[in-house]
């Protein structure tokens, strides 16, 4: 099976939707869901057939020093599964949610372009190609954030677009510096050539990439755009942005660059740990003061992404395992919470926690699934969030970083407090709400149930037999560092 199919399927769906979708309403969701199911199944098959290997595809048959290569390793395949899974549930949710926002086909076409941009980022082996796919995904994201057409949505989209254009300029500058230092843009070749680059220039390159992709990942000093963009978008798009976009464009690319290309230099790992811990604590402190449900979730995303960065900065097998496991878990429970917020907004017409109430009776599925997600995000034992945070904290202690471990525990406790607030005032609030403005459709309920079940099921990834076959190859691919280059160049 060839790799470009992961880009071609969603991109073709986007074009088909814009051709036939405007004639009949049902073509948009139908084509989008069919394409996403196909990508999901293919990514699952690819992940398990890949094992610990790596797959290289040379576009147009041009051999590697000259052409552009697509590269899929276990880490990329793992991310592909997450993207496809969250897109699939988001589309299911959209089917009944988006109808009240008007013209369907534009939404689905943009959605598929977003998916193809993210898939492209995940399977490309070329630095400039990575930049182009990042832009494709971001363009679709601007459009989707502004999709509702209300004043504050345009404001959020404008802020997002300005921040993204700053970060894109920084990234392009970094790519230019890399090219002038190594005379190549293929990541594997850069990784080899980096050995001959002076330490001063390495710091420059790293700092530019950290600022550029840090802006996209919204780690703490670069987070200002996230709460606006993620809370103003329609609910399924918020879950795409918070659940997978900041992870593919931010975390994945940073790990790829700093581990597989630059070979994990200590100064940047320390920066990851400091920024990560800062995000954990400040993000959750900002979250706890919010009454707007979606804004609270957006701030909590900053805090949870902090855990991922802390795990990455530790540079140990356990830390990376925790970080990648938390990446999967955060995609699941944060998407679920955004679906809950969407269902509540549709049912009650408000996002203000103080105006909610009587939800366990009116919207039982939303109430129960939000309970599961709240427990998961706060790290309560049978749920997945507990195990990933535990791995990260144990790894921090093992790496002799007790301060970071302590701050991570404090962050987790504050997260628990935040979501107790959501449950106490929002879901189990005392407002006498008698009837709903509109009932959630079957698609919304299905999406919430699927993710709530997965919140428990993914805990199994920590069980020894399963961990070896799923999580370990991914961790090995990251920890292999510059072995990535050898695998790409040797696997030809």
């Amino acid at each position: 099976m060839t790799l470009p199919i992961f880009i071609i399927i969603p991109l073709a769906a986007a074009f088909l939707i814009s051709l036939v979708g405007r004639k009949k309403d049902f073509w948009g969701p139908l084509l989008a869901i069919a394409a996403t199911v196909a990508v999901f199944v293919l990514s699952l098959i690819t992940f398990f057939r890949l094992g610990t290997g790596i797959r290289v595809y040379e576009m147009g048959g041009w051999k590697l020093p000259y052409g552009i290569a697509l590269v899929l390793d276990p880490f990329g395949a793992f991310m592909l599964i997450i993207v496809a899974l969250i897109s699939l549930t988001s589309l299911l949710f959209s089917v009944s949610y988006i109808r009240h926002l008007g013209s369907d086909w534009k939404y689905y076409a943009l959605f598929m372009i977003l998916v193809s941009g993210m898939n492209g980022v995940l399977i490309t082996g070329d630095l400039f190609n990575l930049f182009v796919f990042t832009e494709i995904a971001l363009f679709a994201a601007f459009g989707l954030v502004a999709y509702g057409g209300r004043a504050h949505e345009f404001e959020a989209a404008f802020k997002y677009a300005v921040m993204a254009s700053v970060s894109s300029s920084l990234i392009l500058l970094a790519i230019a510096v890399v090219y002038s230092a190594t005379s190549t843009l293929t990541m594997a070749h850069i990784s080899v050539a980096m050995a001959g680059v002076g330490p001063g220039l390495k710091i420059w390159i790293g700092a530019l990439f950290l600022a550029g992709y840090g802006l996209k990942a919204a780690i703490m000093p670069f987070h200002a755009w996230l709460p606006d963009a993620h809370s103003s978008a329609p609910a399924p798009i918020s879950s795409m942005l918070s659940g997978v976009l900041i992870k593919t464009l931010g975390v994945y690319v940073l790990v790829r660059i700093f581990y597989n290309i630059l070979g994990a230099p200590q100064v940047f790992l320390t920066a990851f740990m400091i920024l990560g811990t800062l995000s954990i604590v400040l993000g959750v402190i900002l979250a706890i003061g919010q009454w707007d449900f979606k804004r609270l979730l957006a701030y909590s995303s900053i805090s949870q992404v902090g855990y991922i960065f802390l795990g990455i900065g530790l540079n140990s097998t356990l830390g990376i395992a925790g970080a990648l496991f938390h990446l999967l878990n955060h995609a699941l429970f944060k998407s679920l919470l955004f679906y809950n917020a969407g269902a509540l907004e549709m049912g009650l017409g408000t996002r203000d926690l103080r105006k909610m109430g009587n939800i366990t009776r009116l919207l039982p599925i939303t109430a129960h699934s939000s309970m599961a997600a709240s427990l998961a995000i706060s790290g309560i034992p049978p749920f997945n969030g507990f195990f990933s945070k535990l791995l990260i904290i144990i790894a921090a202690v093992q790496a002799h970083q007790p301060v970071y471990a302590l701050l991570a525990v404090i962050g987790s406790l504050l997260t628990l407090a935040t979501f107790m607030k959501v449950q106490r005032y929002g879901i189990r609030g005392e407002n006498p709400v008698e009837r709903l403005q509109s009932q959630p459709g079957w698609g919304m309920q299905a999406a919430m149930i699927i993710l709530a079940v997965l919140c428990i099921l993914t805990s199994l990834l920590i069980v020894p037999g399963i961990k070896e076959s799923v999580l370990d190859p991914v961790v090995a691919a990251v920890m292999d560092k510059t072995g990535y280059a050898a695998a790409v160049l040797g696997g030809r």
Binding site: F142, A151, F154, E155, F158, A161, S165, V166, S169, D292
Partner: protein, 112 residues
């Protein structure tokens, strides 16, 4: 070396404009300046003094040539920037329709 520093100064001017200016249109222009600075930098990295264009013609000796790859990158990046600018302008127009102003201090429905 001085030419790279000047280029970087242009980049910083763009960054300054984006952070400090209060007018939507000026922010968009600043983002354009930043983009130009980066494009210029990429082209400069491919420049060789006294080199020829990288096409081998009949009856011409092979000589030192400029690196053609940065020029291809710049073309792509210009197209992307065009898209970004168009997107920003479109959003600015819609914002103006809603708020009747380009001043970002008055466009503040999102806080916190």
């Amino acid at each position: 070396m001085i030419i790279y520093l000047l280029c970087f100064a242009l980049f910083l001017i763009g960054l300054y404009g984006m952070i400090v200016k209060r007018d939507l249109i000026k922010i968009i222009l600043a983002s354009g300046i930043m983009g130009y600075a980066v494009n210029l930098m990429i082209v400069l990295f491919g420049y060789r003094r006294g080199a020829v264009y990288p096409i081998l013609e009949k009856g011409k000796e092979a000589a030192i040539m400029v690196d053609p790859l940065p020029q291809a990158l710049v073309l792509t990046s210009i197209v992307i920037e065009l898209g970004t600018t168009a997107m920003l302008v479109a959003l600015a127009i819609r914002l103006f329709n809603k708020y009747k102003t380009f001043d970002i201090t008055e466009i503040r429905r999102l806080r916190g």
